[in-house]
Subunit: 558 residues, 2 copies
């Protein structure tokens, strides 16, 4: 037998059948699982589980539908099948595996982790909203709570109910006509939920003085947590995702960490408009942390997700204490990086000033003593560098600078930005179309807030169309640097180097910057076409198209 | 060296020193750790962590201060030291260990997991409350949130903040003069938090139409979760806890599961009145699940905790599906029992009807295939019994029926009941004083709600004083049965057998029952003294002192 084929079985739970098929592949060496066309439902009850640390998502004990752990040479071909997940279940996890191909299926959830209400009216007290049956809710003791739809009939007790709920922590308005974040709209925060009243009309009144919104538009209640990312790739290599339609998941779409060679072809992160949804997934469409080899995104679409489309970066860990001449206490600084134990004997770490991002030393790790997911004690093969201070940060030197190709992709409708970049590998961003609310391509990196390592060395941005980007509040400049370098330090470092921007179309509805950069050396801007449009009102005060400071060897040829 | 002694080091974190001392004991075979008098602070940052399933508390990845895993023959003598814990940290975990003695220290937390407000006034909209600096709070977008006290200055983002908060899910009024739950008060529920407004006076207005309370009394915001129980004993034997004062923890006080021979001597669960607190700990004082050997509670005090003082029971797991003639899918039915994997090859399980608690068969387990923390597939050595239906429940026969001695203990001020009993071992409850808001001694057991196995076979209740119990709503009868047996089934089973009640004092402020039992056989009530008091208003309608049904061989000798 060359492959295992699974058949759709009506509404029954396909979770065990998939688990059995994966077990059979392990046992027999079969390298392919195929699906007959149709819909397959997956419930958490019968899914295996493991505690997972997933970068930039929320850690936890997770139920997993397709659990590919320590699997080599396997292809899963959905044959166009629809995979529909229920509740808190992670669709795919590929961990410590290699040569894995996943193709030709869609991922959706029966009930979304976010919720969407239609804005009826706004006044000083708050907002009147109506919800479709897709977003069931209750008002409990005056608080708006999103549910699975079935009334919880259990007696209330002093213990946790185990009920499945969908907590929210932020609100964002989407334009129903343009199907994108509303023009210049900002996030409203609701870290503890919000008070609300049920109205006789069937609508609700959300109590939130100062909230803004346009009647008819959609107010999205952003998921408070990122528990169920779509496809997790961890400590793996040679992973191909092809022809996957990701309609929804409760976290990032594709999150790869500590992995090598990831190829995404025709990945479509798109909202199920036909099912009455404005938003696709609840966080970044794709995210790559401490990856290496080559990352390719080819002919993908990223629409209406609740955060950036692509983010490629390393991790800065913090020096929390010097324990001896060779030994440091090291701390993971961002709770969503906890547990990523890439600091192992033999790894070379660079020592970096948090406020300037200047690298001042590099040492090899001799041994590691873990304290918990947040702290480790690291002993180096040589004495610690002079001038080391607590608060400096550390990043991996090897296995952290993938080559990147992003080509033929479309970016639109989502919150925040298009591509966030940080890799010293060769990067080519070519023939894409960006219609992003914020900056289209952002050169990031900081050691004090997100602790994401960046710094490009060879970046080409060629043949792209930047079509009326920056209609939202998330950035300044279509292509921009926002690395966390203190202003007074910016002259001392060239964090980003060798950037070629050519043959692109920049279509702008106002006079905000095409380029806004600092701490850069060797940047060439040439053969680009600049167009003016009236797609949105020009509200920003006119300013320079090219904002540059603390940089050298910049050639702007218009 | 016979022992390791630790010295108090001011306010510095003692967590690493304790971890190092425990490591040293393992390495060298030293069998004793002592503490010099003083205060020792423990913070979660430097604590090790493990994922723990703790019966009737909340599972999770937990930081642990005193982590005794796979330790034999160790005594920790606090010498009167005060151990003060900060944030989400479990004080003591004893797991897979034997011959462990912990003695002579107090356990407290810098910030309690519950919060207490003084009732200023009550009206149709809700309640005005004032909070001392012991219970810091903020009102965020209209919702009352309890904090650690330091203002969170982090920028709000779409990701979880990692901030330490103290969520609540229930409200309960305490009488400030009597220092106990207010007379006949009921729980108010707040599963999603509550709306509130800050008032210019410094008080807050809690929005909760219908809430009741007396100005001057304390409203306790009960902790929503039980993440940090005080002393966890799991899969261990011969554990002695002696002279421990438990002022606070975020869960149950002592929770023992799947363990043998537990001796509690002079354990004091008491509130820190001097630190301005009404409530001691946030859940049951002590709880024993699937334990065996002997459980002894000698000269203990249980005051003002947020739930029962003692609960001793087994676990009923559910039959969720018949997979073959020998194989069942078994489900843990209560989320706070998940992960307790006591079903292992060789164990004998009894088959029980959930609605009648009648045992109809017993079989030995041959093999177990775990699916996740909630489901396992169990294969038996013989074919499944005839007449088995899904929904029936299973319980361990061996290692689940400890002998119990509870003597010289005082029970007062807490929410709910005194002792909940379920063990077929010999039980003696002697020379205790009960001033409980609910039933003093409750014979439990049910297979449909809490899934706690009970059923006594040899219970003596002797020489106790029942001093004006049942001044609250939690039960009927000073000694009562509330097993989950459907009314029409009660005649068919004698779930509790051989009960002797003698030489006790029953002091009653009204004419509510001394005894309220059903499905019992062989009960003798003799030589008891019954007194009438005026301690509380007699509000209940007069009724029989002895309510009995569906029982036989009952001798009431007054």
């Amino acid at each position: 037998m060359d492959s295992i084929n699974l058949e759709a079985q009506g509404a029954s739970d396909a979770t065990r059948a998939v688990a059995e098929a994966l077990k059979e592949c392990r046992k027999t060496g079969i390298r392919k699982i195929t699906f007959s066309p149709g819909r397959y439902d997956f419930h958490p009850a019968q899914a295996g589980e493991r505690y997972l640390y997933v970068s930039n998502n929320d850690e936890g004990l997770k139920r997993i539908a397709f659990d590919l752990r320590e699997v080599n040479d396997l292809e899963i071909d959905g044959g166009g099948a629809e995979f529909v997940f229920h509740g808190y279940l992670c669709p795919f996890v590929v961990e410590k595996s290699s040569r894995i191909t996943l193709r030709n299926f869609s991922i959706d959830f029966a009930r979304t982790f976010h919720s969407e209400g239609r804005i009826v009216s706004v006044d000083a007290e708050g907002m009147e909203l109506s919800f479709s049956e897709n977003f069931p809710y209750e008002i409990r003791q005056g608080i708006l709570v999103f549910t699975e739809g079935s009334k919880n009939l259990k007696e209330q007790t002093t213990v946790s109910s185990g009920e499945v709920l969908f907590p929210y922590s932020s609100l964002l308005e989407f334009d129903v006509k343009k199907r994108e974040t509303a023009f210049m709209v900002k996030d409203f925060w609701a870290p503890a939920g919000l008070p609300a009243r049920q109205l006789a009309s069937g609508h609700i009144k959300l109590v939130y003085p100062g909230i803004e919104g346009t009647p008819g538009n959609i107010l999205v209640f952003g998921a408070a947590r990122r528990d169920c990312p779509g496809l997790v790739i961890s400590d793996s290599k040679d992973v191909v995702l092809e022809g996957i339609q990701l309609l929804h998941c409760g976290g990032m779409g594709v999150i790869a960490q500590c992995s090598r060679n990831i190829y995404l072809n025709q990945l479509k992160v798109v909202p199920a408009f036909k099912r009455g949804r404005m938003v696709s997934i609840t966080a970044d469409a794709t995210h790559f942390t401490n990856c290496s080899g080559k990352i390719t995104l080819q002919d993908c679409r990223f629409e209406n997700q609740k955060d950036d489309a692509v983010n490629i970066h390393g991790i800065y860990t913090g020096i929390s204490r010097k324990l001896s001449e060779e030994c440091l206490e090291v701390r993971w600084m961002h709770p969503q990086q906890f547990g990523l134990d890439f600091i192992v004997p033999g790894v070379e770490l660079e020592f970096v000033r948090a406020h300037s991002l200047i690298t001042y030393a590099a040492l090899e790790v001799k041994s590691v003593l873990p304290i918990n997911k947040e702290f480790v004690q690291v002993t180096f093969t040589q004495p610690l560098p002079m001038g080391l201070v607590e608060g400096d940060v550390l990043a991996c030197i090897q296995d952290n600078h993938p080559e990147v190709l992003i080509s033929g992709c479309r970016f639109r409708g989502n919150r925040a930005r298009g591509i966030l970049l940080g890799s010293r590998g060769k990067i080519l961003i070519e023939n894409n179309v960006f219609q992003t609310a914020g900056t289209a391509i952002l050169l990031e990196g900081d050691g004090r807030f997100w602790f994401e390592q960046g710094g490009v060395r060879d970046l080409t941005i060629r043949g792209n169309t930047f079509d009326n980007c920056n209609y939202g509040i998330w950035g300044e400049g279509v292509i921009a640097v926002s690395s966390g370098i203190e202003e007074k330090e910016r002259m001392k470092i060239r964090y980003h180097q060798n950037i070629l921007i050519e043959k692109n179309i920049f279509r702008q509805f106002d006079s905000s910057p095409i380029l806004s950069v600092y701490s850069v050396s060797h940047l060439i801007y040439r053969d680009n076409q600049e167009e003016q449009s009236t797609a949105y009102p020009a509200m920003r005060a006119p300013g320079p198209r090219f904002k540059m400071s603390d940089s050298d060897d910049i050639q702007i040829m218009r």
